[in-house]
Symmetry: C2
Subunit: 248 residues, 2 copies
């Protein structure tokens, strides 16, 4: 017979049980109890652990799945999302070739160095005054044609040990590398997009004339707990590609 459940926590402020469960699951994810790609315990198991019904656990997991923190697979289990096994790669890159076709880009690492962050970078990453950062620059090429020039800023502390050689060495998405090597998983991002004219070194690297209009994409990526951990400034040559966005 359904009875009002005992409150799971003696919090004074009200929040639905499944939200509390969701919080507990998030904490376990954040704390590394289950790693990217691994299965989390079954719904029944979690229900027993938290002393709630399966339906309540289910609703919590449902929300985490729509937020892309978890992935459900019928018959197999529920897994921690990972950038390593994305469907078509590129979880966050919205670039598409104009002529319907798959996007397959080669990477060319330009440089990777540790430095004091410019003021705006430090502000975006919410860094204290003394913390340094790692700057990575790279090109993405379609065949021989450069399409994207990326400038990536990472806080040096959590990415300690990141070097050009190691970056070169890995296969697959950079975000997958961050997961396995540094235990940092990007869960969402905000982008600011504008148009600007190619100039100087950027124009040279992208092999376009000075003054060519480029898409400027500034992406701030967050891990668990809404903590910003990556600032990425991309210049996209949209001569043969476009940025695709679905509005729902």
């Amino acid at each position: 017979m359904p009875e009002a459940q005992a409150p799971l926590e003696t919090t004074p402020s009200f929040s639905p049980l499944y939200q509390q469960i969701k919080g507990l699951l998030t904490r376990s994810l954040q704390g590394g109890e289950w790693k990217p790609g691994e299965a989390i315990p079954s719904e029944i198991e979690l229900a027993a652990r938290f002393k709630v019904s399966q339906g309540t656990v289910r609703k919590a997991i449902d929300e985490l799945a729509t937020e892309n923190l978890l992935v459900r697979r019928q018959g197999k289990g529920t897994f921690v999302a990972t950038h390593a096994e994305e469907r078509t790669q590129y979880r966050f890159l919205r670039l598409q070739p104009d002529d319907e076709g798959g996007l397959s880009l080669r990477r060319r690492l330009l440089d990777c160095r540790r430095m004091r962050p410019p003021a705006d970078v430090a502000r975006a990453l919410a860094l204290k005054g003394s913390e340094s950062v790692i700057q990575v620059r790279r090109l993405l090429l379609q065949g021989e044609q450069p399409v994207v020039l990326d400038e990536i800023w990472l806080p040096a502390a959590p990415f300690k040990g990141l070097t050009a050689e190691r970056l070169m060495g890995h296969r697959g998405p950079m975000y997958a590398y961050f997961e396995t090597e540094f235990g940092i998983r990007m869960i969402r991002a905000d982008e600011k997009i504008r148009a600007l004219a190619a100039a100087g070194e950027a124009a040279q690297l992208l092999a376009v004339p000075d003054g060519t209009p480029l898409l400027s994409v500034e992406r701030l990526s967050y891990t668990y707990g809404d903590k910003p951990v990556e600032l990425r400034r991309g210049l996209y040559d949209t001569a043969a590609h476009h940025y695709r966005n679905a509005l729902n």
Copy 2:
């Protein structure tokens, strides 16, 4: 005692009950049984109508709510979504001023005329050879500064009677006007974004020098049944604004 429910439809192919309910609800929305802004019947009522449990109706409504076709309001009911009463207006416009502040734009109608569609427009709107279109052009201004130049293409048939005078006359979002005047509601859209250089009339209208990099935003909007009903080509001056996008 829970029993396997009788199949609601004698469809040979399997689909969950709540998906079938969702389909029926969508058909009612499409058919205009409930109009934008109106309340749909309560969950209990719908459950009785469809001879399923409230939970099943609930799940169907949940999905339609996350797709922004319906809006739930606790204690009041479930309502058909409308562009008329959006939170911050601008359901689809992702433009934001660089300095944190609200976006408030004036509209200036440039022209509105009926014509044979260019081939690419006809293709995008999936028009037969003989159908004509209405082209609307307008400016959006921040104070005295033009920020957006829109070129809007609509199939003439469903928008029969649309004139410059009527467009001028209405208040509120254009999409709200389309709902009340023509019974056409935009439910989702796809955008293709690129950078290009201002030229000719567009540069003049936006009051920028020739060659100024602009954001080109091509939006194809869909009504119920994934039917494309509007092609909008916007040129955004990103000198003091940017296109904001959240990646989840």
